[in-house]
């Protein structure tokens, strides 16, 4: 190990999950060249492939590496939270209609195409422009970009490094949710922990919000796969010993490293455009189901955050400011108040950190804190984190009507796949409150509000 491994956890979380495999992965990452200070794991850490999920690692730009497996297949998978002018009382009698309208408007599930069919040229424009492309084509407002991480566009995205196969996969998937753990959820603000920051974020008790969790779809998977293949093939040339081929990497300053970085940026832009379109589709579904005007709905983007990415960012290391390549695989940015990359609207409060829970549990909104800059390269956790494998979850829910169970708990769930619901049962995940407690207690991000789920569309 070149650096130590540091895990943020509580006794309770450590008892609730078997961490042995994920800890091995933390150790593997700590052995990679150019890693700075520590291989980190957030409290939602669990066994992934290559890097652990919930892992954060920063690399020196001269000596360090960039790894497609350290970002993940779903490049810029992330969350987007929208606020509305509605309150629980406005929708409680129409909840089923609303979830049905969302299910109809927002394409979800395996192999389901989107409403848009793009040409290869248009896909390349999306890859270069990100969420701005969607706004330019009428799917949202300019102010949405102000509250999207990095303005919804990753600089240096060059579609030249993206294969034709990836472009083809991107043609009909823009504005689609996908499957597995991706979702769109109607939530209500249930508890406010920090009144002042909640007001800055535009949150109040009882207010209806919408959370979207999706990423770069097949285009991102293909880019990761293309570059992993290439890096494994040429692994011998780098002289880097790999305990697991999934950790295949290239020097950040090498031609191959730079090409991957640029292609990854393209996928990040596709994901931002995708979530922008999903927001537009959600807006239309709300207006149709409730028969209200855009003004009455007042859907605004609180924030859009990515949790599978590698970025070049500045951090203090041993008293000096360094530019580093930070990998966040199942981890989010958590910049504190005053940071220049926090949107102007939130600069005095800190960057919103969005942490979705398991199906039907709801989510947390936190605000980035100063300790994250010195301890975790400006990062916090990204969700609850799985404790149960998908096979275990299916077994334990075999004879259960999951959707009916959720309805009894007051959550309307719709999915195109019964299997997805079984795999995503709440018990398959860690306790979200506990995960957030660790992040809050460690001073990485502070609790602002807790949202409870009312309706959910699963892929």
């Amino acid at each position: 190990m070149r650096v130590p491994g540091i895990l943020y956890a509580s006794q309770k979380l450590l008892r609730s999950a078997d961490t042995a495999e994920a800890m091995k992965q933390v150790v593997n990452v700590a052995c990679l060249p150019g890693i700075v200070r520590a291989s980190l794991a957030m409290p939602d850490m669990h066994w992934g492939y290559g890097f652990p999920i919930g892992g954060v690692a920063a690399f020196d730009l001269d000596e360090g590496i960039i790894s497609p497996g350290g970002v993940g297949y779903d490049i810029n998978c992330g969350c987007r939270l929208m606020t509305t002018r509605l309150f629980v009382t406005d929708i409680q009698d129409h909840l089923k209609d609303l979830v049905t309208a969302l299910f109809r408007h927002v394409p979800s599930g395996v192999g389901v195409g989107g409403h848009l069919k793009l040409t290869a040229k248009e896909v390349r424009q999306v890859l270069a422009e990100g969420a701005g492309w969607a706004v330019r084509h009428g799917f949202g407002e300019t102010e949405d970009l102000e509250t999207t991480e990095d303005g919804g566009v990753f600089p240096g995205a060059d579609p030249e490094g993206v294969s034709d196969a990836a472009i083809t996969r991107g043609k009909d998937q823009l504005g689609t949710l996908g499957s597995g753990n991706h979702f769109l959820e109607i939530e209500a603000v249930d508890e406010i922990f920090d009144q002042k920051t909640a007001a800055v974020f535009g949150l109040e008790k009882g207010q209806i919000c919408v959370m979207i969790h999706s990423g770069s779809r097949g285009l991102g998977y293909q880019i990761c796969d293309d570059y992993l293949f290439e890096m494994v093939k040429h692994a011998g040339e780098t002289g880097i010993e790999l305990p697991d081929r999934q950790l295949a990497c290239a020097k950040i300053n090498s031609e191959r490293g730079r090409r991957y970085f640029s292609a990854m940026a393209c996928a990040a832009n596709y994901a931002w455009a995708n979530r922008q379109l999903l927001m537009h589709e959600a807006r239309e579904a709300f207006q149709e189901a409730l028969r209200i005007s855009p003004k009455a709905l007042g859907m605004r983007l609180l924030y859009d955050i990515c949790h599978n990415i590698a970025k070049i960012e500045r951090f203090p290391v041993d008293g000096n400011e360094m530019r580093l390549c930070v990998h966040r695989k199942g981890a989010t940015r958590a910049y504190p108040a005053g940071h220049p990359l926090v949107p102007a609207r939130y600069r005095d409060a800190g960057q919103p950190v969005l942490i979705p829970g398991d199906m039907g549990t709801g989510s947390y909104v936190l605000a980035g804190s100063a300790a994250a800059m010195t301890e975790t390269f400006g990062s916090a956790c990204h969700g609850a984190g799985r404790v149960m494998s998908r096979t275990q979850a299916r077994k334990s829910s075999r004879r259960r009507a999951v959707a009916t169970e959720m309805e009894k708990r007051g959550v309307i769930v719709m999915s195109s796949s019964r299997g997805t619901l079984q795999e995503e049962i709440p018990e398959a995940y860690k306790n979200l409150d506990e995960v957030v407690e660790v992040v809050h207690g460690a001073g990485l991000a502070r609790r602002v509000a807790r949202l409870r789920a009312l309706g959910c569309v699963k892929g």
Binding site: H46, Y49, V232
Partner: protein
Amino acid sequence: MRYQVLDHTADLGIDITGSTLKSVYAGAAKALFSVLSDLSAVRANEMMELSVEGLDREDLLVNFLRELLNLWNRNRFLVKSCQILSLAPRRLTARLFGEPYDPVVHRIRREIKAVTYHDVALVPTKRGWKGTFVLDV
């Protein structure tokens, strides 16, 4: 050939056992498509051949499965069965039987994001060979 789905927290691990290495590669192809779709509804109407290379046996297995997944992602082709025509440590040629996806006839069980290199293994056993691979789902 037999295959079994393993417990892997976020992803899907598959174990395949077979009397020969060839049968494990062929079994891996079938397991991949069984995860993706209900193969009882897929007919072996069309045949195609596929040649793949790799750095070693394990890399060859990953590349073979990647190419098969590409057949689905790019051509919407479902493989029902597979026959390994030739196998060397770094190259194989397979004959695939299946048919193009028809949404009326075929049910897609789940999206497979990718075939990973994580924990991939091919080991000799008392009765033949065992292969392991992990899918990102």
